[in-house]
Amino acid sequence: MYLKEIYTIKAPYRESMNIRGYSFGKGDKAACILGPVRGNEIQQLYICSQLVKKLKELENNGCISSGKEILVIPVVNNYSMNVGKRFWGEDNTDLNRRFPGNPQGDTTDRITGAVLEAVKDYGFGIQFASFYMNGEFVPHVRMMETGYQNTSLANLFGLPYVVVRRPRPIDTKTLNFNWQNEQTAAFSVYTNKNDEIDDKSARQAVAAVLRFLTRMGIIRYESHSGYISHVIQEEQLTNVHSMSGGIYRRQINPGEEVRYGQIIGQVIDPYEGGVRENITAPTDGVVFFAHTQPLIHEGDIAYRLIHRLHE
């Protein structure tokens, strides 16, 4: 293993922010794994750190395939992480909305430009990312529908679900979209948490990446075969909205099956304590996403269901 310096940004009164990659094996740029670009993606940082630990072991045991190189960048934005901010501290810019970046551009464009330059030549790209809505997901691999996406490859992670999202204009500035445009087979892996550690789903994510690398012939590693993934188009998910605001009582977890008409959540009157609304399942299905905040707005998405799917 050796360290690669990707980019350094200096600040007047802080130590420099050094973006570093850990390189394993030698040869073709086979796979790149990227950790948090947002400051609250602590689970994603944890997963990457565990991957670095595991790949060190595998390299020491001669289990990285000959002629293959793997790069892990455990964190892009440690500056924001250290001050408890999700976005770039100075101007609240979301780094994952600044790709492909620009070496002559603004500070954040320079950071993302340098990162994309460092990762664009790898055959496979895996990003541990977070979604714009607060809540918990079932673990899944997410891809943008760019025309270059390959759901068969995404299946090889062995996670329960693969989600294909038709990009909206705002998505064109994400790493995933731009990585695919650079001809890298890019995947975003989502576990259930962001700003807290969930060991079980972190282990599942590490195993999924190692399984994928094994199946692509990049490492030699014995692992469980995982799931045959269920592929979902994002627009086919059924959104369940709350019709009122208040204190939110969630009753179902991601991955659980629900039946049509089942009460899956309640909105409680924040002053008087009574039930303001019973949120019911509009269809049979499996919970893909669940709102987890203790408060809910009128119109918030309480759940996203995979229509008519059974466990």
Partner: protein, 321 residues
């Protein structure tokens, strides 16, 4: 009359409400129709220049209401929670509201709100989206137009009494803005930018109010007085020089906003306070006018310090009128 465009219940004892002021004038000429202009502002909660524009426009219209024809809709706060908390994005959601248009009726709550705003604006003959700059850079009055809509919008933009019209190269991300969405839906929508975030420059505001009244006069919506209207410079990206910090530190400008500068002139320094040293001296790469000037002194490498509108005849400049 005050109308509620959209309301959504917040968790504890409050509703999020986006409201507008509708001012009805006399019927405009034509087959029984009323012309309609909409003024929107406050998409970014830290941009307040539009507050004065909305107030002053409504005040002048009310003062001479007999001169008003058609309908004027004023939306002073599209992101009321952001304005209340001096927050650029939508608080809690941490989303830039100007990146979620045209919204989504089946989406998250703010996407639904955005969809309601768009539906309400449909039917306007013209829409003007008033922005301030952010808290970092001071801007002259300008209209920014995406190249895609240049032919349709330029005649309206020239009436708005701004210093310049900037024909922006189209970036895909512009597609999620209110202006792009409305233009795609057939409502000519212009973005006015000026001043500084979290502040009000009443001189700039008065110029824009004059410009809106001038536009309304051309549309047949206003028969009252209009101040003197300036002719804007219409410029492409290639007529603009961006000056960015190459070093981190504290930026100390030596020129003022809107200054005319000459090539080679010292425009400022970036200093290292701890070591009492000059990190970088910034000089003008061309003759021109400083239309953007950084106000927030702390800079990283890459921070925008100034934009210079190059004087016509400059080698790579391509102004067009």
């Amino acid at each position: 009359m005050i109308q509620t465009v959209v309301s959504a219940g917040l968790p504890v004892g409050e509703n999020l409400m986006i409201q507008k002021k509708r001012m009805m004038g006399k019927q405009t000429e034509g087959p029984g129709s009323f012309g309609r202009i909409s003024i929107v502002t406050g998409i970014h909660g830290d941009e307040l220049e539009g507050q004065y524009v909305c107030y002053e426009l409504a005040r002048r219209l009310e003062e001479a209401s007999e001169q008003l024809y058609g309908i004027v809709d004023i939306y002073p706060a599209l992101n009321p929670l952001g304005m209340d908390t001096r927050h650029r994005a939508i608080p809690q959601f941490e989303m830039d509201m100007n990146r979620i248009f045209p919204g989504n009726r089946d989406g998250a709550v703010m996407e639904r709100v955005a969809a309601s705003v768009v539906e309400d604006l449909i039917g306007s003959d013209v829409c003007i989206d008033v922005h301030s700059s952010n808290a970092f850079n001071r801007e002259v009055t300008q209209v920014r137009i995406s190249q895609d809509f240049k032919e349709r919008l330029l005649p309206f933009a020239k009436l708005l009494n701004t210093e310049m019209i900037w024909l922006n190269a189209t970036e895909t991300v512009h597609e999620s803005t209110l202006a792009h969405s409305m233009n795609m839906l057939g409502v000519p929508t212009l973005v006015v930018e000026m001043g500084l975030g979290a502040a009000i420059n009443m001189d700039y505001g008065n110029r824009i109010v004059d410009g809106i009244l001038n536009l309304m006069r051309e549309m047949g919506l206003w028969k009252g007085a209009v101040g003197q209207i300036r002719q804007p410079a219409v410029v492409l990206d290639s007529a603009i020089q961006f000056i960015r910090a190459q070093k981190e530190g504290i930026f100390l400008p030596s020129i003022s906003h809107e200054a005319r500068v000459e090539k080679g002139e010292v425009l400022g320094r970036i200093v290292d306070v701890l070591h009492t040293s000059v990190q970088e001296e910034i000089t003008a790469p061309c003759d021109g006018m400083v239309f953007t000037l950084r106000e927030y002194p702390m800079v990283y490498e890459g921070a925008l310090l100034m934009r210079i509108l190059m004087e016509q005849g400059e080698e790579s400049g391509q102004s067009c009128t």
